[in-house]
């Protein structure tokens, strides 16, 4: 069992005999057990000290939150937590500040950091199906290390009116760690993609919330053209360490530009399909938007919903923290990141006067395609009082972020509303 990167004192809990878990339960007291389990535990007070019910053996990952810093937990089963914007200031998002999006429970293999016997199967519409160990992946294909943005399709959902169902992410379901792995395209080409290939289907070993091992948690995919671009990787490391339990140990996809749900965690199979993939959360209205603009609150027929692909252009203000006091008349640096589902961002502008005038921020080039780009602006607040900084990124096609929520959609995806922070100038 290895420690979480960046936090050697993180209590981790792998099994019932783990001393860290006993300490955790000891600290919280067994009365909290029902809450951790998400259900009532009759006769809980009769449990002997140190006894851990079997249900805890399949973990939500909640106790791993001790290794995260300052995240806002939206839900504990499944575990979902976002990062406040001012904690996303790092160029490379560290483990402690990377958002968590679980659809199910953390698999035991990930909790144990046990990759023994792990294989990745590549099958379906390919000439030569592959079954690769992690060592074989490393030996057979070129290793690449890249900073890639990973963003939940529902980032910004909280700003839609009327509300839409799902976790109410604001701006922090995003991060840009440095991933190490092999190109997805190289692996697909080695298997020989047939002309009949249309889509990929991704599978992992996470566990359904019901505990039913037969039930698929999430299995999404991308058009084969996207999979064959050189950007997507099959990663085994994040920020130079093995993938953490919450982020997909031992293997995951990182397919930048698309909703992060296509970047399957706990990856053990890629099935090339001859049609749009129909795995869990590909169909119905999951990760789908209307094929045409609809008025807010409209009920859209299922057949008119299409798969969300490229995420829209977006920027966030990561410094200063909203509400910070600054000196009137003195220059203050305001900075953040910008990214786009199509690749690089063209420009970032900021406004200090509620969108009446805008000034262009300095925008650094991306270290590689689909990394977020640092922007900085030097602002002077003319006199004391309340100010807002609004940030607006624009993509290579001249498409920018709206000041209000963009096209409403029934599940609340792809809301790239301009991020605003408050600054209070004192004399």
């Amino acid at each position: 069992m290895t420690e979480q990167p960046g936090n050697p004192e993180t209590p981790r809990a792998a099994d019932a005999t783990d001393p860290a878990r006993r300490r955790f339960l000891g600290r919280t007291g067994l009365t909290a057990l029902g809450t951790i389990l998400g259900m009532a535990v009759p006769f809980e007070r009769n449990l002997p000290a140190g006894f851990v019910p079997a249900a805890l053996a399949q973990d939500t990952g909640l106790d791993l939150m001790a290794g995260k810093q300052g995240l806002v937990v939206l839900g504990d089963r499944p575990l979902n937590a976002e990062t406040p914007a001012h904690l996303l200031d790092d160029d490379v998002t560290p483990y402690e500040r990377l958002f968590i999006r679980m659809n199910g429970l953390v698999p035991q293999t990930a909790l144990d950091q046990d990759a023994e016997g792990w294989t990745l199967t590549v099958d379906g519409e390919v000439e030569t199906p592959l079954e690769l160990t992690i060592d074989a992946l490393k030996a057979r294909f070129e290793t690449v290390t890249r900073r890639l943005v990973i963003e939940c399709g529902g980032n910004g959902r909280a700003f839609f009116q009327p509300g839409t169902s799902g976790n109410q992410w604001t701006v922090g379901a995003v991060g840009c760690p440095e991933w190490t792995g092999v190109r997805l395209a190289d692996v697909l080409k080695a298997a020989g993609v047939k002309d009949s290939a249309v889509y990929t289907g991704h599978y992992g070993n996470d566990v359904h919330l019901s505990g039913d091992e037969e039930q698929e948690v999430i299995s999404r995919g991308v058009p084969i053209e996207k999979a064959l671009e050189e950007d997507a990787i099959i990663a085994w490391a994040m920020n130079g360490e093995p993938l953490p339990a919450l982020h997909g140990f031992p293997l995951r996809l990182v397919v930048p530009g698309y909703p992060a749900s296509v970047s399957q965690k706990y990856l053990n199979r890629i099935r090339v399909r001859d049609r749009e993939h129909d795995g869990a959360k590909m169909t119905g209205d999951s990760y789908r938007i209307p094929a045409y603009p609809v008025a807010p609150g409209t009920e859209v027929p299922e057949e008119d919903m299409v798969v969300l692909t490229e995420m829209p252009v977006r920027s966030i203000v990561t410094f200063p923290e909203t509400g910070t006091e600054v000196k009137a008349g003195e220059t203050v640096e305001v900075r953040g990141h910008a990214w786009c589902g199509k690749g690089d961002v063209a420009s970032v502008h900021v406004s200090l006067d509620f969108g009446q005038t805008w000034q262009e921020a300095a925008l650094e080039p991306a270290p590689n395609r689909f990394a977020w780009q640092r922007w900085r602006a030097q602002l002077t607040l003319p006199q004391h009082g309340y100010y807002e900084v609004w940030a607006r990124a624009t993509d290579q096609n001249g498409i920018g972020q709206p000041p209000l929520s963009p096209a409403w959609n029934p599940r609340g995806y792809a809301n790239n509303i301009q991020h605003r922070i408050a600054l209070v100038a004192v004399a």
Partner: protein
């Protein structure tokens, strides 16, 4: 410094208890005013978002016995039906239409393996959800 300690303590309490997860924040945040649903808003009015209250953090405290769900007819039934799979946190975040609750119910039964209760309990739970976690009332 005391704010940091307070925030840390609140975060720790939230972590340990799994409830009250949003940490109160006294710094002004213009994004907060854009989130959350104003009661009685017309969803077809584009100005709705601008008039929205920052009410996300002040949701009713709810009944601790039922994972923080607000008291009312159906609270207990809703709690036991739902926490078989997921916690109440995801329920408490929702402000959706009646139609969407019906769709979510069907999705949970058809796609997610939820065991459907008898018709009376089903009606009770859906009425409770539509009453307390609605974009329409």
């Amino acid at each position: 410094m005391s704010r940091i300690i307070k925030t840390f303590a609140a975060g720790l309490a939230a972590l340990v208890l799994g409830v009250g997860l949003a940490v109160a924040e006294d710094r002004p945040d213009p994004m907060q005013a854009l989130a959350g649903r104003p009661a009685g808003a017309n969803p077809l009015d584009p100005m709705t978002a601008i008039r929205a209250k920052a009410d996300a953090g002040e949701a009713r405290a709810g009944n601790e016995e039922f994972g923080g769900l607000p008291d009312g007819a159906g609270a207990e039934e809703t709690y036991y039906q739902c926490v078989a799979c997921h916690s109440t946190e995801i329920i408490k975040q929702q402000r959706v239409t009646d139609h969407r609750w019906d769709e979510l119910w069907a999705w949970m039964v058809e796609e997610q393996g939820m065991v459907e209760p008898d018709e009376e309990t089903r009606a009770l739970i859906l009425t409770y959800l539509k009453t307390n976690f609605s974009s329409q009332r």
